[in-house]
Symmetry: C2
Subunit: 191 residues, 2 copies
């Protein structure tokens, strides 16, 4: 399925747009393709866009002072990602986004998103719904990080992204769980 149709189906689950309205909305998105390993956002960048994943898998991550990587999110098809703190507050990126696999995305600028939200009430509704969903996912992940042990977090990860295990190198899964590779191997073998 092409990018346009994937976005259309995704939006139409939440709001009804006429063909003309959808064409207009879609005209503000820019299709981009990336190769495995390519960087989309780097710490320190000016961040102007957010990204809707059409195919492939991205990771959103942070590298601390000791060069340890923490993965905030894996983004599969129909997920969105960006450095939203930088995007909404017009500050430099503090996190990174790159491609775990070859990927196709649709990119929309902050300015264009705000423009179509103010022009089309249903689109404002759609983006509110989208952020509500992201907020709930983020709260769940926080709670899981505070409360669960690594084994439970691992099981939650597999439930959330069943296809991830074959797609993503093990050291990235460890960086999402916040455990060492050795701990992950133990979890993996006991699963």
């Amino acid at each position: 399925m092409e990018a346009k149709e994937i976005l259309r189906q995704y939006i139409s689950k939440i709001v009804l747009l006429s063909d003309e309205q959808f064409e207009y909305v879609f005209s503000h998105f820019k299709p981009l393709t990336f190769k495995k390993g390519q960087v989309i956002i780097s710490e320190g960048d000016q961040v102007d866009c957010e990204y809707f994943v059409v195919s492939g898998c991205l990771k959103t991550f942070f590298i601390n002072d000791e060069i340890k990587m923490y993965i905030l999110q894996f983004s599969m098809p129909t997920w969105w990602t960006s450095d939203y703190n930088a995007l909404y507050n017009d500050t430099k990126a503090t996190i990174n986004v790159d491609c775990i696999t070859d990927a196709e995305v649709l990119c929309i600028s902050n300015k264009d998103r705000e423009k179509i939200c103010s022009e089309i009430h249903q689109i404002e509704h759609f983006f509110r719904w989208r952020t509500n969903k992201g907020y709930v996912a983020s709260q769940k992940r926080l709670l899981s990080f505070m409360n669960n042990d690594a084994k439970k977090r691992y099981e939650e990860l597999l439930a959330l992204y069943p296809q991830l295990y074959n797609l993503v190198p093990k050291h990235l899964i460890a960086a999402y769980l916040g455990v060492s590779r050795e701990t992950l191997s133990r979890l993996y073998s006991s699963h």
Copy 2:
């Protein structure tokens, strides 16, 4: 300042409403007062409302199987809280909200929020802005939890809520930081 004026000032920072529009919006909020210690949402409850804090301080928290408490958020004036997972997905509450101090709140039901969002485009915009802000705060807290040691989390907490230290019992601050009371005492004395 009365509750109505506090909400009005808060909304008017983001969107412009006529007096008539604001009166209409406000008619969907219900003022409630609570005593210190009173419970607003309990695990297992049906969740129909979200709460805008006018005065006082609430806590949003989770109790795990070992009866250990994790605090997700302290809510001070102009903050919002609820179990948003339960509220948006019409499931039973998995977290709790209660009052650290006497508190006044404005309560709005999920149904009424959706109603005024669909009726008034600016209100939809306001709630999208509000959730965007909550999403960014939640991502920052997650990152901080993954990356920082307890001392840094303590310093971030004081920066985020400077007035909290005099308001909130120390064991609750420990439950927010995810540390023992003993660790908190060490952080406190070294500060």
